[in-house]
């Protein structure tokens, strides 16, 4: 598969989840594990540009796919507009949900560039945050929507 633009080839156990492949085989620990029931969304990555919870699929299922993790979002040392929007709007506190939240938000704006507050709230339903109360996350996504957050 291609991860953040580089080709990766490994023989893996069939039971290895994609999130463990990313974290333990590739060392991309920016993607987090917060639960074991696919409820929290901390492990959200982009697969072919669409958000997927990387604990819900096996690594072998992503064979040949193009994966983007939080490590692959910034370009040439510059924040992606969504990262910038989270920073400017204080959309993160402890940061544990942030990677998944940012990836889910990028995917949301790609599918639906003109979002309302209700769309954002509905669209991020699968990602839990315990710190921010979501207020500033929603604000950040709305701000990014106005500045090319889907790019």
């Amino acid at each position: 598969m291609t991860v953040n633009g580089s080709t990766q080839e490994h023989d893996v156990e069939p039971r290895l989840l994609l999130v463990f492949y990313l974290r333990e085989v590739l060392g991309l620990t920016g993607t987090k594990i917060g639960c074991d029931t696919t409820s929290c969304g901390a492990c959200t990555v982009l697969l072919g540009g669409e958000s997927v919870k990387s604990c819900t699929m096996f690594a072998v299922q992503a064979d040949g796919a193009e994966i983007t993790t939080i490590e692959g979002l910034a370009t040439n040392g510059d924040f992606h507009p969504m990262q910038q929007a989270f920073h400017e709007n204080h959309g993160l506190q402890c940061g544990y949900c942030t990677a998944g939240m940012v990836m889910a938000a990028v995917s949301l704006l790609k599918e639906q560039p003109d979002v309302t507050e209700a769309d954002v709230r509905e669209g991020l339903e699968g990602n839990l945050c315990r710190c921010t109360g979501y207020h500033n996350i929603v604000k950040a996504v709305l701000a990014a929507a106005g500045t090319g957050g889907a790019a």
Partner: protein, 785 residues
């Protein structure tokens, strides 16, 4: 130089997090580390009769399997409880692996050590444990009856009775002469803190040097170090504790846990790095829970609704064991059951019992949300009885602004406040009069969609805490905080703090405090923390203490640095210190502004030591430890507006207005973020969350699929307003804000629901107010009419 305190300075913590660079406990890679998996009891109460580990021990990758008996020689003592609230408190001996019986579902009965996490978990499933199952105790009143005594050696389930009764005769007299009384019973359900990052620990030993580096997802690296040394008989000088990036705590990581002690013991025994990462189901079962109280509150009032006495009786759920501060949690609320009201007579009793459920301990607010809930619900009940608007009843009872500092009947001194101001502002923001009119119109039209408006006027004691007060409450440590500030040779500033942030933005805010005083850019100030080797003195982060206590220590250390710099400047400029001005980071001679030295030049001079006053030590560095003379008392009024569907029981949050006063604000953006998150946790208690147990003591909400942490879809945006009444307690004039939102919001929501449904005869609703429960409550109220 423009002011940096009070500005929305953007967070320096963000970049590593937003790029995936920040390393949390499970992101740390240590070659050769062994992994621990725990065999946990599936029974709430059961004697362990045998553990057969032969099959597990033979599995691939397994290094060892240990029972409680195998490890008995490792412990220097049982797991610590730092807050024995009374002399004769009962407490069962608690060990990382239970040697005798399991006291809750999740209690560890064996540990498997293997070369990978997967191998350890597979083998844990192969350990065969025989149990003699005993009856579960999950009801607090049942526990109190001692029908089943969980710990035979203690003879009772009653852990302690704690009373605060300054003048019982006065209370009795007030009730005897009252025109109105209310007596309410509320249930504070158990909550699961649910930090998004589960716990984890990694111990790296240096077997020949005899020292250990302990990485843990903890709020309290300093306290943990002391407790690990005591608990395992290791010299404190040989333990270094590091809290890496920590993904939220909310009190749940303010503890010393079995797994932390176990991993250090195993690293010592096996002479290898040992790690354990918590799964979410372990988090729900074996990390502490919060709340868990049955509250009885009585108010006596005169004909106008002026409250003359408050009498409170609590029954508090300790769970299976006393964790670090379990017994003290009800005491943190014990002084606050009169809320923001001037009440002359006060009586408080708490009885605390053991059950066969997960231990309880600090969860955001810890004791103070419970107190605020009880008084704010009871004030609404009193308003209905007296027949006045709840806002008006609050006004009649507020401690007046001119009464501060206010000595309360239970014995606190409230530092500063303006409760009327916060209420007025909140009512204006929400458009209270208009909402009441709309509510009346809806009621008259027979609408099934009921509008409810709920108020919560709160204050809380935080900034834990004056050490002498903690001594009086029998807490085992002090409440000070420490910091150091050092100007480096290049003029950059390095700060160490004893606070241990896990989302609260201390790096950003402390740099603002230091930069403001030194007259440098916050970008030139770095803040180091959460490593006992770098910042050896500290009491860590909990109880909304970090700014009011830790931030003050940072300010004090900065001032000491400035004082020393002034002496050096005077020496080098050959003037007296009183002839110097200090502004914008530059010392200049009064009347001769060209004779000046920037603080960076003084820093370099102190580094070279070439030309310092006689006898002065080189280097521009200072330390400070600050023990606060009092708590701080943030306050405010929150207003929640709900629509309740009579036919489905569904509650919609239409609006949420919060007016908070935490004194001076270092960074309003951070303050707002703390309120947003705090409010949602309190709203979640009101509407969604409960750790539910079946009668056999099984936790039914052991995953995030069952335990309803709200998502963005269930929450509205918030309307925040502020008032600033500085605290006279500390030189920054600040109060804590980390817990205020949680403390205020729960009663605002429930008061709104009860307000909405009061025409149907509803006077109470048990939390969480799920649609089913609201619907049932409506049916019961209708049936009773």
């Amino acid at each position: 130089m423009t002011a940096v305190i009070g500005t929305r300075y953007s967070r320096r913590e963000d970049a590593p997090i937003l790029t995936g660079e920040a390393r949390y406990i499970d992101d740390l890679v240590v070659p050769g580390a062994l992994h621990v998996a725990l065999v946990r009891s599936p029974h709430a109460h059961a004697r362990v009769t045998s553990v057969d580990s032969s099959a597990a021990a033979a599995m691939p990758g397994v290094v060892a399997v240990y029972t409680g008996a195998d490890l008995a020689g490792e412990w220097a003592g049982p797991m610590p409880c730092a807050w024995p609230v009374v002399e004769d408190m009962k407490s069962p001996a608690h060990f990382p692996i239970t040697p005798d019986k399991a006291r809750y579902v999740g209690d560890a009965v064996a540990a498997v050590v293997a070369t990978s996490a997967v191998a350890a978990k597979d083998a844990a499933l192969a350990v065969v444990v025989d149990y003699d199952v005993l009856p579960a105790v999950i009801d607090l009143e049942d526990s109190l009856s001692d029908r089943v005594v969980i710990n035979e050696d203690l003879g009772t389930n009653l852990a302690y009775t704690w009373e605060l009764k300054p003048d019982e005769a006065k209370v009795d007299e007030a009730f005897a002469g009252a025109a109105h009384t209310v007596k309410e019973r509320y249930v504070q359900q158990r909550l699961i803190p649910s930090a998004m990052e589960p716990r984890g620990v990694l111990v790296v030993p240096a077997p020949f040097g005899g020292d250990y580096t302990v990485y843990s997802a903890t709020q309290i690296p300093h306290i943990l170090k002391v407790m690990l040394a005591l608990g395992l008989g290791i010299s404190e000088t040989k333990i270094r504790v590091i809290a890496p990036a920590v993904g939220g705590g909310f009190g749940s990581k303010l503890n010393v846990y079995a797994e932390e002690v176990l991993c250090l013991a195993l690293a010592r025994k096996l002479k290898k790095p040992v790690r354990w990462t918590e799964e979410r189901t372990e988090n729900t079962q074996a990390t502490i829970h919060g709340r868990g109280q049955i509250q009885e509150i009585e108010l006596a009032a005169d004909a106008n609704g002026k409250v003359t006495a408050v009498r409170v009786s609590l029954l508090a759920d300790m769970g299976a064991y006393m964790q670090l501060v379990t017994p003290g949690i009800p005491l943190l609320g014990a002084f606050l059951y009169h809320g923001v009201y001037d009440v002359p007579a006060y009586s408080f009793t708490c009885r605390s019992v053991f059950t066969t459920m997960t231990p309880t301990d600090a969860y955001r607010g810890a004791g103070r949300p419970e107190a605020t809930y009880a008084i704010e619900r009871a004030m609404d009940a009193l308003a209905r009885k007296v027949g006045v608007d709840p806002a008006e009843l609050r006004r009649r009872n507020f401690i007046p602004a001119e009464a501060f500092p206010y000595s309360s009947a239970p014995g606190l001194v409230f530092d500063s406040g303006n409760y009327d101001g916060a209420l007025d502002k909140a009512l204006e923001m929400v458009g209270y009069e208009g909402l009441r009119k709309e509510q009346t119109m809806r009621r008259e039209s027979g609408s099934k969609k009921h509008l409810g408006i709920g108020l919560s006027s709160y204050c809380e004691m935080c900034g834990l805490a004056p050490s002498r007060v903690l001594a009086a409450l029998k807490y085992g440590a002090g409440g000070w905080e420490a910091a150091s500030v050092q100007l480096l040779p290049t003029g950059k500033v390095q700060v160490t703090t004893g606070t241990s942030p896990h989302g609260q933005s201390h790096e950003t805010c402390w740099s603002q405090i230091v930069a403001d005083r030194l007259g440098v850019s916050p970008d030139d100030v770095d803040v180091l923390h959460s490593d006992t080797a770098i910042s050896p003195l500290g009491m860590d982060s909990y109880g909304s203490r970090s700014l009011a206590v830790g931030g003050t220590a940072v300010a004090m250390a900065t001032d000491k640095v400035i004082d020393k710099a002034r002496t050096i400047a005077a020496h080098q400029l050959e003037v007296s210190e009183s002839d110097l001005d200090f502004a914008g980071g530059v010392f200049s001679v009064k009347g001769s502004p060209d004779k000046a030295m920037p603080i960076q030049a003084i820093s370099f001079a102190s580094f070279t030591g070439h030309n310092l006053p006689d006898g002065m030590e080189p280097n521009l560095r200072a330390e400070a430890s600050y023990d606060p003379p009092n708590f701080v008392f943030p306050f405010g009024t929150h207003v929640c507006v709900v629509e309740v569907d009579e036919e489905t029981g569904k509650v919609d949050l239409l609006r949420y207005v919060a007016v908070d006063d935490c004194g001076n604000q270092i960074n309003p953006m951070i303050v707002e973020g703390q309120i947003h998150g705090g409010v949602v946790q309190g709203v979640a208690q009101a509407l969604f969350e409960e750790a539910s147990y079946d009668e056999d003591g099984n936790l039914l909400t052991s995953t995030l699929a069952d335990y309803l942490v709200p998502s963005a879809a269930e929450m509205p945006s918030f309307e925040l307003g502020f008032q600033v009444t500085p605290s006279p307690t500390n030189p920054l004039g600040v109060k804590g804000i980390g817990e205020a939102g949680t403390i205020a919001s729960t009663p605002a929501v429930i008061n709104a629901i009860v307000d909405a449904l009061s025409p149907l005869g509803v006077t109470d609703i048990r939390m969480p107010a799920s649609p089913q429960r609201v619907w049932q409550t409506i049916q019961e109220a209708k049936g009773a009419r």
